[in-house]
């Protein structure tokens, strides 16, 4: 019993940085659950990936200007993330058939510009920090910022939940009803950006989209209903964060990749479960 205690609780009781990391991951998981689920159900996982890279040049610019200033990194990330979100929705409106090409271009340009900006001022270690994050180095100000950003995005999502969900499967209907379907698409992308900026403190721009999409993808294997999928996705995200932190503590692994790998393992297990229990994955009411 005390052995189990030593494995599961001791690391968090003994070290403040483990506790801070766990609280930060919990805040992220609560926002990632609903937002990641909607992102998947809208078939926009590629857009999520692109937006997470779009955070990088802004964060890098903030770094080049002000060094490791929390505010500069985050504000820069929000600005370029929102800019690319706006550009990408302009592009989808203009030429739907070329959408994936445009997204790939945004992705590559963001990554290249970000790497150039970071290395112009900092070292390779700084670059690794921006790309992969440092969840164990998260301090109290960063934790507060993560909690603030995730809370804001969850509250906004709750307020505009109905139009965002309707826009996901019947944009024409929303447009005919209230004329705001483009607006709501942008609002949703802005929520994704806020969430990614919160996650980038912990996971870096390369991995921030992992905790957003992987738990949501795993949850979708177990249920097709929107709200249960969101709740389950938040739970799985939290579980992945907890187990990943413990793995990185005992095996001395980098924490971000460890958490993303655990989330990936959860997805694989869920996928197999859905394959061998096909009624799990079927929408309610679909005949076999």
């Amino acid at each position: 019993m005390s052995g189990l205690n030593a494995v599961l609780i001791e690391p968090f009781a003994a070290y403040g940085f483990m506790r801070t990391a766990l609280v930060g991951l919990a805040a992220l998981a609560l926002a990632n659950g609903p937002i990641g689920t909607l992102l998947l159900m809208r078939r926009m996982s590629l857009v999520g990936d692109v937006l997470s890279h779009a955070v990088m040049p802004g964060a890098a610019f903030g770094f080049a200007l002000a060094g490791y200033s929390l505010l500069a990194l985050s504000a820069g990330g929000v600005v370029t993330g929102l800019a690319v979100a706006a550009l990408s929705s302009l592009v989808t409106r203009d030429a739907a058939q070329r959408q994936d090409v445009h997204l790939a271009v945004f992705y590559l340009l963001s990554l290249a510009a970000g790497v150039l900006l970071v290395t112009a001022r900092g070292s390779n270690i700084d670059l690794m920090h921006v790309l992969f994050g440092t969840i164990l180095a998260v301090g109290m100000p960063t934790l507060v910022l993560m909690a603030l950003l995730t809370s804001i995005s969850v509250l906004i999502l709750a307020a505009v939940y109905r139009p965002i969900v309707v826009e996901a499967f019947d944009p024409g209907f929303l447009q005919a009803m209230s004329g705001g379907s483009g607006t709501y698409r942008l609002v949703f992308l802005a929520l994704v950006v806020l969430d990614l900026v919160a996650g980038f403190q912990a996971f870096g721009t390369l991995l921030a989209v992992g905790p957003l999409l992987l738990p949501a993808a795993a949850a979708r294997c177990w249920t097709r209903r929107v709200f249960p999928a969101m709740a389950l996705s938040a739970g799985l995200g939290l579980a992945a964060g907890y187990v990943g932190l413990l793995l990185s503590y005992f095996l001395n692994l980098p924490s971000g990749p460890a958490i993303v790998l655990v989330a990936g393992a959860l997805y694989l297990v869920s996928l197999l479960a859905a394959r061998y229990q096909p009624e799990l994955a079927r929408p309610p009411g679909v005949p076999a």
Binding site: A159, R162, G172, F173, Q175, R225, A229, G285
Partner: protein, 291 residues
């Protein structure tokens, strides 16, 4: 005469009044801000307009709609009188769906005007083609049909209790009575069209825009849905439907608009569906003559 207590009470009262005034101003500003926000983000909330059924006329003048550079409609003018029942006919790519979407407010015209005489935007109800809805999204038939009452609750308010009963009635009317909890992904093509009709019915529109309402469904479903449309026509609603089956148009639709990016012919169906008109619209007239 004022004692110190009196003066204190008076000034306290004054201070309270100032506070109350400030609070009231703040409250008014907040209410103004909230209603501006609702106008911007919830233009669909209009509970009053949906109560009465009026049949507005739709007057289209010189309408041009373009996707990027290619014009889908070029200088189209047409009138749909109140209570009329019009079929829109034309070859593929003639801009039939584009015309309906422009009237429904989904596409913005590049030029020209669409006037709704005797009604507001809330009077328009639009039945999309089935593939405009992502049916992989996990939403139940009941929730989907309840969207027809959108104008009564809009983007942010809770749905009124009466909505559940209305949804049940509409589902019964289209023959989907037992499908309330089924996912829309589980419906057949015909059943999903019935669900779209149920949602349309709840919108209580004076102008009904139907985009290929009978495409890819079997004869009995077509008959059932056609009876609904005729019933709406008898109630005096204005009906505009994009159709492909020219026999059905000749049989059931008094007016026809023949479209091929421009208006080829417009008027009573038998005058419009002449072979020379169809040929000018770009139909293969040999095939048409054979049917």
């Amino acid at each position: 005469m004022a004692s110190p207590e009196n003066r204190a009470a008076a000034s306290g009262g004054y201070a309270e009044a100032a506070w109350a005034l400030t609070l009231r101003r703040l409250g008014a500003a907040a209410r103004q801000g909230a209603s501006a926000f609702l106008r911007r983000f919830d233009g669909g909330y209009a509970p009053a307009t949906s109560a009465s059924v009026v049949a507005p006329a739709v007057a289209i003048a010189d309408l041009t709609v373009a996707y990027q550079r290619a014009a889908a409609l070029d200088g189209v003018s047409a009138d749909f009188p109140p209570g009329s029942m019009t079929a829109i006919v034309g070859p593929n790519g003639a801009g039939k769906s584009t015309l309906l979407k422009a009237i429904a407010g989904i596409l913005r015209p590049r030029a020209g005007s669409i006037l709704l005489e005797g009604g507001g935007p809330g009077d328009i109800a639009y039945l999309p083609q089935s593939d405009e809805v992502d049916r992989g999204f996990p939403v139940s038939v009941g929730d989907f049909v309840a969207l027809g009452c959108w104008r009564q609750y809009g983007a942010f308010r809770a749905a009124p209790a009466a909505v559940a009963g209305k949804v049940r009635q509409a589902l019964d009317a289209v023959g989907l009575g037992a499908a309330d909890d089924t996912a829309i992904a589980a419906l057949s093509v015909g059943q999903f069209r019935r669900a779209l009709f149920a949602r349309l019915m709840l919108q209580q529109g004076g102008v009904l825009l139907l985009d290929e309402p009978f495409a890819a469904i079997d004869a009995s479903t077509t008959q059932a849905l056609l009876q609904l449309v005729k019933g709406w026509h008898d109630e005096g609603r204005t009906i505009v439907a994009v159709l492909h089956d020219l026999d059905q148009v000749a049989r059931d639709f008094p007016r026809t608009l023949l479209l091929s990016r421009r208006v080829i012919a417009d008027g009573p169906t038998l005058d419009v569906l002449r072979v020379e008109n169809l040929a000018r619209a770009g139909f293969d007239t040999a095939a048409v003559a054979a049917t």
